[in-house]
């Protein structure tokens, strides 16, 4: 474990249980099925895709939402380092996304790299801080999605609904 990145990507970030239904509605559980997902009404082939999407949504909208005290969380047993690997025919590899998430997390964290290399900060705590950033922005993004569900009747009806939501961030 000789780099911060390697230490970080072994982790699995969590999300609040109150968003479980978003994952079950919009994402496919487990490995991506061979059927076209949109025909089953699910926009995302795998669950962590929604997670990544929510992270960027929160990030671009500057919505960083810390968890409540004692808020229950869960994850989907897929370490960051596997995110983006080609899931099925017709999809591409997008492991590049790990780098970007990492850069964003570092940028938004209060981590002092100097302190880390000096040994003043423990690597474990550094990773924890980065994950906190990731989880809190994702939390913000999921909240935005959730609000849209509550405001509108059928907000994610069309195949470009999520794209449009993302575009609105600017």
């Amino acid at each position: 474990m000789d780099s911060l990145f390697d230490a970080w990507k072994n982790k699995i970030p969590k999300y609040s249980v109150r968003f479980s239904d978003l994952f079950s509605s919009f994402a496919h559980k487990g490995a991506a099925s061979s059927q076209t997902v949109s025909s089953l009404g699910k926009h995302f082939d795998v669950q962590y895709e929604l997670y990544i999407y929510a992270f960027f949504l929160g990030l671009y909208n500057k919505e960083r939402l810390p968890f409540e005290q004692d808020e229950k969380k869960k994850d989907f047993s897929r370490e960051i380092m596997y995110w983006g690997s080609k899931s099925k025919v017709g999809r591409k590899d997008f492991t590049y996304i790990q780098d970007y998430i990492f850069m964003a997390s570092v940028s938004k964290s209060n981590l002092s790299l100097v302190a880390l290399d000096k040994g003043e900060v423990d690597i474990k705590d550094a990773v924890k801080e980065l994950l906190k950033v990731l989880e809190e922005y994702t939390n913000g993004g999921l909240t935005i999605i959730n609000e849209k569900m509550e405001d509108e009747l059928s907000p994610f009806l069309t195949s470009d609904s999520f794209l449009q939501l993302l575009l609105k961030s600017n």
Partner: protein
């Protein structure tokens, strides 16, 4: 003459009273097939031509059902018109008594009510009044059901002689020809008689006379045969044209089907090209990074700052370390000379000689100076030796963040790609928009082609008839050839006979001039000339009339510019066994014969009919002038756009025309009938919409038409 209103009472699907009030100009009656359009036309036809027999089928079933208990009710069709501002009314009616067992019809009558110029109404015979307000020869060319009826010059009809009789004074000349013929004949008989009386060349004369008679008979029968051939030829040509149309329909159908297949293929292709997997592309095409530039810059900034800080601290640390070492040395209060001064060799020499050559004092072994020099040499030798670095203290014990610098570098280069995302997305949306537009266009054209197919299917005969027609066509083609051949043969025979006859006649006339009395010959000659004058003048008048129809038809035809056809209608006169007929041809602008498609043919016939109507109103003797025209579905082959153009044209003539059509009636998404938007731009004086009530198929009494004025 203007039709003010037509009222149908319990006539077929028109339950109770249904009144249609008409305006001048174009009146349009819209109704889908089976909704009551044709029944309306038939009502008018019955009013004009119907008799007292077989009235049961005309009775409204619904009314019958209601009146099962024996009440009487009336079935009638009436029409109110104005002629020279005076109102005239016609009503044909009968009473119905319906018991549970039988239907009894009675009191059939056809009454006319005529208003005179002092406002009094006078009852009169319906037929008489009808012939007055709408003369039969004009009526005959004012009402048409369907497109086929529009061809009034079809072989077998006596259209030309009817038209000439009705609308031209050319028929007067027929009379003169008859007289001319008679007189000439009498004069010739007189000459013959006279010659016969003189005995000189009697024998020769008689022989000649019988030879001439025989020749004339031969000639006459050949000419008759020739005319019959012509008639047959025309009929066969018409049959072949019909068959051709059918084949054309089949070919057209095939073409349309292919077109539809291609359109469907284009639709699939276009649909497949429309981007729909937006969400997966967010990741696969890196769209998710669309706004990442700012964050990338923040990251770069942070890394830069950290790097700066790192170097600053390192420098500080090193400086502190260096300073410490230095101060250790200074503590010894010696300001040492720099290493290398003096040189090694000097020092070794000094040590050997035990003399400090710097201060020039002796340096015995064990003395302070000697020890200093020894140490000094020792230090120098150490310093040039590659020695093990003293384990120095390090500030940055870990190097977790090395990768971050390369991340920063690499991804900064990739910012260009991120900037391309938003415009790239815009392209995708525009592309999709274009494809969706294309789809819409394709679907519209698909609809159009499918409508065309419906039309063709409606007009075509079944598959099995195709075989029959095929066989017939073969036979007809053979017949055509045979007739052409016999035509040629007959022609030469006729010419020969004519020549021979001419010789015989002149021989005879040679005798005539020698033998017969002078004045008989002269009289005969004058009467021959008179006959010629009558015949030629009559011929001329006929031709003038036909030219008039031709000219007016083309005037109208050029304004109803269907398919941008630039040719002309050509009416050709020919005579067959029944008399003189007209053939209608279509010629291109270059004068070549053109085989028109259905809608062009219909337009041709309509132009001719409108021309005749114009001539009728110009020539009309009674001062009744204009007459209305009624057409039932005259433009079925036209399609929506051409029908619209056609109707607008008819409206512009400002003559009263009643046109029934199924165009413009469509269905909405729920399957209900609606009038299509395009109808709003059709100029007309009035419009009606015929719609049936909801009905039960098995119960005829539920089939009833409602009339709505639009």
């Amino acid at each position: 003459m203007k039709i003010e209103s037509i009222t149908l009472e319990n006539f077929q699907c028109y339950y109770d009273l249904n009144q249609f009030v008409f305006e001048r100009g174009l009146n349009i009656i819209l109704g889908d097939n089976g909704e009551g359009k044709t029944k309306f036309y038939e009502a008018i036809h019955w009013l004009f031509n119907g008799d007292r027999f077989n009235l049961d089928p005309l009775i409204s079933k619904k009314k019958l059902k209601e009146n099962y208990n024996g009440d009487k009710f009336m079935v009638s069709v009436s029409m109110t018109v104005t002629v020279d501002n005076l109102q005239q009314k016609l009503k044909k009616s009968f009473k119905v008594e319906s018991g549970t067992q039988k239907i009894k019809t009675e009191s059939f009558e056809f009454i006319g009510m005529s208003e005179n110029d002092i406002g009094e109404r006078e009852k009169m015979d319906g037929d008489k009044l009808l012939d007055y307000i709408f003369p039969p020869q004009i009526r005959r060319y004012s009402m048409f059901k369907g497109e086929a009826e529009l061809d009034i010059f079809k072989s077998g009809e006596q259209a030309l002689s009817n038209l000439v009789k009705s609308f031209s004074n050319a028929s007067h000349y027929d009379e003169f020809c008859k007289y001319g013929d008679y007189l000439r004949n009498e004069a010739e008989k007189a000459v013959n008689k006279d010659v016969k009386l003189s005995s000189k060349s009697k024998r020769q004369f008689q022989l000649l006379e019988s030879a001439i008679d025989k020749k004339k008979n031969e000639l006459s029968s050949r000419e008759e045969q020739f005319k019959i051939n012509d008639t047959n030829l025309i009929k066969i040509k018409e049959d072949l044209k019909e068959a051709d149309k059918y084949f054309n329909n089949a070919k057209h159908l095939k073409t349309l089907k292919e077109r539809i297949k291609r359109i469907n293929e284009s639709i699939s292709k276009t649909q497949s090209r429309i981007v729909s997997d937006y969400t997966t592309r967010i990741f696969d095409d890196k769209w998710i990074l669309m706004f990442f530039e700012k964050i990338q810059k923040e990251f770069n900034e942070k890394i830069k700052n950290e790097d700066l800080l790192r170097r600053k601290e390192e420098k500080k640390f090193n400086m502190e370390q260096g300073a410490k070492e230095l101060s250790d040395k200074i503590l010894n209060k010696i300001t040492p000379l720099p290493l290398g001064v003096p040189s090694v060799s000097h020092m070794e020499e000094m040590l050997k000689e035990k003399i400090c050559k710097v201060c020039n004092r002796s340096a015995e072994e064990g003395s302070e100076a000697f020890t200093y020099m020894e140490k000094r040499l020792e230090d120098f030798k150490q310093s040039i030796k590659p020695k093990k670095e003293k384990q120095r203290e390090v500030l940055f014990k870990k190097n977790y963040t090395q990768k971050l610098f390369s991340l920063s570098d690499n991804y900064t280069k990739r910012l260009i790609d991120i900037r391309k995302i938003e415009p790239g997305l815009k392209d995708v949306f525009e592309f999709n928009e274009r494809k969706n537009q294309e789809l819409k266009e394709l679907e519209k054209s698909l609809e159009k082609e499918e409508r065309e197919i419906q039309k063709i299917i409606a007009k075509s005969k079944g598959e099995s008839e195709l075989v029959n027609i095929y066989e017939n066509v073969k036979a007809w083609n053979k017949q055509e050839l045979d007739i052409e051949k016999s035509k040629v043969r007959l022609e030469s025979e006729i010419n020969n006979l004519k020549r021979e006859l001419k010789e015989l006649v002149s021989e005879k006339e040679g005798i005539d001039s020698k033998e017969a009395k002078r004045f008989l010959i002269d009289t005969r000659d004058i009467l021959r000339d008179i006959e010629t004058i009558f015949q030629d003048t009559r011929e001329l008048k006929y031709d003038e009339f036909i030219d008039l129809i031709n000219f007016k038809s083309n005037e109208i035809f050029s304004t109803i510019n269907v398919d941008d056809f630039t040719g002309k209608i050509n009416l050709k006169k020919y005579s067959d066994s029944r008399g003189e007929q007209i053939k209608v041809e279509l010629l291109t602008a270059e004068g070549e014969y053109e085989n028109p498609n259905q809608s062009l043919e219909t337009t041709m016939h309509m132009s001719i009919l409108f021309a005749i109507s114009e001539i009728a109103s110009e020539i009309s003797s009674e001062g009744a002038g204009n007459y209305p025209m009624i057409f039932d579905a005259p433009t079925s082959s036209f399609g929506l756009k051409k029908t619209m153009d056609f109707l607008n044209l008819v409206h512009s003539t400002d003559k009263q025309r009643i046109i029934l059509t199924y165009e413009f009636v469509g269905r909405d998404a729920k399957g209900n009938q609606v009038i299509e938007e395009e109808f709003n731009s059709v100029k007309r004086s009035k419009a009606f919409w015929l719609r049936r009530d909801e009905f039960v198929k098995e119960d005829l009494s539920t089939i009833n038409t409602n009339v709505t004025t639009l």
